[in-house]
């Protein structure tokens, strides 16, 4: 059977750009057709911004890679038009087991918060995610949206100019040159763009290797997440077993830093380990094995003039907590609307610096969380090992110790508490929806709030009536008035608390920009200006 990742999805095709005498200038060029680059292109194309993706490959990625997609990513992908495909195909799980040494210390059932359209997370092979994004891109092309994906296009050099970037691209049909008003580098942790521009990639470094295997079970096996600390088959390291669609289980074996990668990857070394994990009598086929190396670090600045970095190219974390691809989608969600406003001249170019500030802040949070998980999973000193083992021993009999067990804290969206785009908060409204927060989903009548908010700036009025549309600062802002009868318990507890009414100014990426308990159009105008980078410097 031909595997999905063996089929060329966007093979090299000659482009008219390749024979013009002067290089063609494009508003936006994206480097890299991974999940982040594809998502970025969809975001921009949906806003009618002409965009080109360049990738030296022409297929989806090999192996399952980023398998865990968070609720926030699914909400973003809903707006990108592929949330349903992801959720329909993906695996939702809630049971798990934790093992320490040769014994199970406890099992758990995650009881996610009610009142959200999307589950807390799904498991899905990265290649499916990429496939759905490419299909969405093709559908947008069919609708006449200005988006093009060029496979077999390898960027050979990038020149930074004051008002654009100039690229030389190698193809099988020869090299050619194009220019980009804005260049977005989504070319992964090893980012050739970053190297070509000689930019830093610094931070606290944890060097580690993971053996990743996709295994097809031949018999029933429970849909559970199993995590091992210091198991007999992988002494002093960790192991993870996770269910994916198509009867494929994903296995991550931590190997440490000082290993012989080629030796570890050999089937005769992998199979016995897997048998020890799964049980001698469990029959399975090995679909894919790879060794994955990571470090925790980020670029000091995500924006360098006309070149902007997103996803792993800008920041890299350990796999614990699924903070790679998930934070990449938050990058594209943050950048898309800002770039649109800057390109159409509604917002100053400096608005793009807030992309850097907000997403650098988010990357620090992800690196902190991921570092803490790493410190628990791989204790760095004798005493940290003693405490780690004490937590795990206690967790067998005492529930209080289980929240201390850290095998990864699942990606949740960052609250941009320090963002210059936020307006001052008012008293009396719930903390979880304070300015800078991502919108918490909730049922609104027969609908979901996440769907109602959609794209674009919105005014959400709870228990108040506002116009369906208002022109403020050159922007047409849609008003969503929710009558008292449609305010359920979730919407009330998440957005009103004890207040009788509230107005929220929501950004296009569904983060709260400002909120009030009374309607004041002057304050709304000030807050909107601030949210598009026209506010006075704080």
């Amino acid at each position: 059977m031909t595997k999905l990742f063996e089929v060329p999805l966007y093979p090299y095709k000659w482009s008219p750009d390749q024979e013009t005498s002067a290089p063609v200038r494009h508003p936006v060029v994206i480097i890299g057709a991974g999940p982040v680059g594809l998502a970025m292109a969809i975001d921009l194309a949906q806003q009618d911004i002409p965009v080109i993706i360049l990738d030296d490959n022409d297929k989806v990625s090999v192996g399952s890679r980023a398998i865990c997609f968070s609720k926030r990513s699914l909400e973003i992908l809903d707006r990108y038009g592929c949330g349903d495909q992801m959720v329909d195909k993906g695996v939702v799980w809630s049971h798990g087991r934790v093992f320490f040494g040769d014994r199970q210390v406890y099992n758990f059932d995650l009881l996610p918060e009610e009142g959200h359209k999307r589950p807390a997370f799904i498991n899905l092979q990265q290649y499916y995610c990429e496939l759905y994004l490419v299909e969405r891109l093709r559908a947008l092309q069919q609708e006449g949206k200005p988006v093009d994906i060029r496979g077999g296009n390898k960027v050979a050099s990038i020149d930074q100019m004051d008002d654009h970037a100039s690229l030389i691209i190698d193809t099988q049909g020869g090299a050619y040159r194009i220019e980009a008003d804005w260049l977005i580098a989504c070319d992964g942790a090893g980012s050739p763009s970053r190297r070509m521009l000689d930019l830093d990639f610094v931070g606290r470094v944890f060097e580690d290797n993971f053996l990743i295997a996709d295994v097809i079970m031949k018999a029933d096996f429970p849909t559970e997440r199993w995590f091992w600390f210091d198991p007999p088959f992988n002494k002093d390291q960790s192991a993870l077993l996770h269910k994916q669609p198509d009867g494929v289980w994903r296995i991550d074996l931590q190997l440490g830093w000082d290993i012989d990668k080629e030796e570890e990857k050999r089937e005769e070394n992998v199979i016995p380990r897997l048998k020890q994990m799964l049980g001698e009598d469990v029959e399975f086929d090995l679909e894919w094995v790879s060794i994955y190396t990571f470090q925790c670090r980020r670029m000091e600045k995500f924006r360098h003039g006309r070149v902007i970095f997103a996803g792993d190219a800008a920041h890299q974390v350990s796999p614990f907590g699924a903070r790679g691809a998930n934070s990449g989608f938050q990058d594209t969600d943050n950048l898309g609307w800002k770039l649109k406003l800057v390109l159409e001249g509604t917002a100053p170019e400096s608005l793009l610096d807030s992309y850097g500030l907000e997403r650098e802040w988010a990357a620090d949070e992800n690196i902190l969380q991921s570092s803490r998980s790493t410190d628990f999973i791989t204790p760095k000193s004798e005493m940290s090992r003693i405490f780690r083992d004490a937590v795990l021993d206690l967790s067998e009999s005492y529930e209080f110790a289980r929240p201390l067990v850290n095998s990864g804290r699942l990606s949740v969206p960052c609250v941009y508490d320090t963002s210059p785009l936020n307006s001052d908060d008012v008293d009396g409204l719930p903390a979880r929806t304070r300015p800078g927060s991502p919108a918490s989903d909730a049922p609104v009548g027969e609908e979901w709030l996440s769907d109602r908010l959609g794209d674009g700036f919105k005014l959400l009025a709870l228990g108040l009536e506002i116009p369906e549309r208002s022109d403020i600062s050159g922007l047409s802002v849609e008003g969503i008035s929710v009558a008292d009868s449609d305010i359920g318990a979730e919407l009330r507890s998440r957005y009103l608390g004890d207040a009788g009414a509230a107005i929220y100014l929501m950004r296009p990426d569904q983060h709260v920009a400002a909120r009030w308990t009374t309607l004041d159009w002057a304050q709304i105008e000030t807050a909107l200006n601030r949210a598009i980078g026209k506010g006075k410097a704080a």
Partner: protein, 67 residues
């Protein structure tokens, strides 16, 4: 604010001290280290309050100890 956290509260200090030593009786260094770690975690959970826990960590850190 911190004084009430570190003031004397043990009702029977000699009994507690004797119990603590007895608990370590016959244990190897590694077993005692593991026991202490479990005890600290149980006590920390019993205290719960993050400010109190920080105060206790600071009190332990700044107490002089001959090297």
């Amino acid at each position: 604010m911190t004084a009430h956290i570190t003031k004397a509260q043990l009702r029977h200090p000699d009994d507690f001290y004797a119990d603590l030593l007895e608990a370590h009786e016959g244990r190897s260094k590694a077993e005692s280290d593991a026991f202490n770690a479990r005890l600290i975690l149980l006590m920390a959970n019993r205290i719960g309050d993050p400010d109190e826990l920080k105060t206790l960590l600071e009190a332990a850190a700044k107490t002089k100890h001959p090297e």
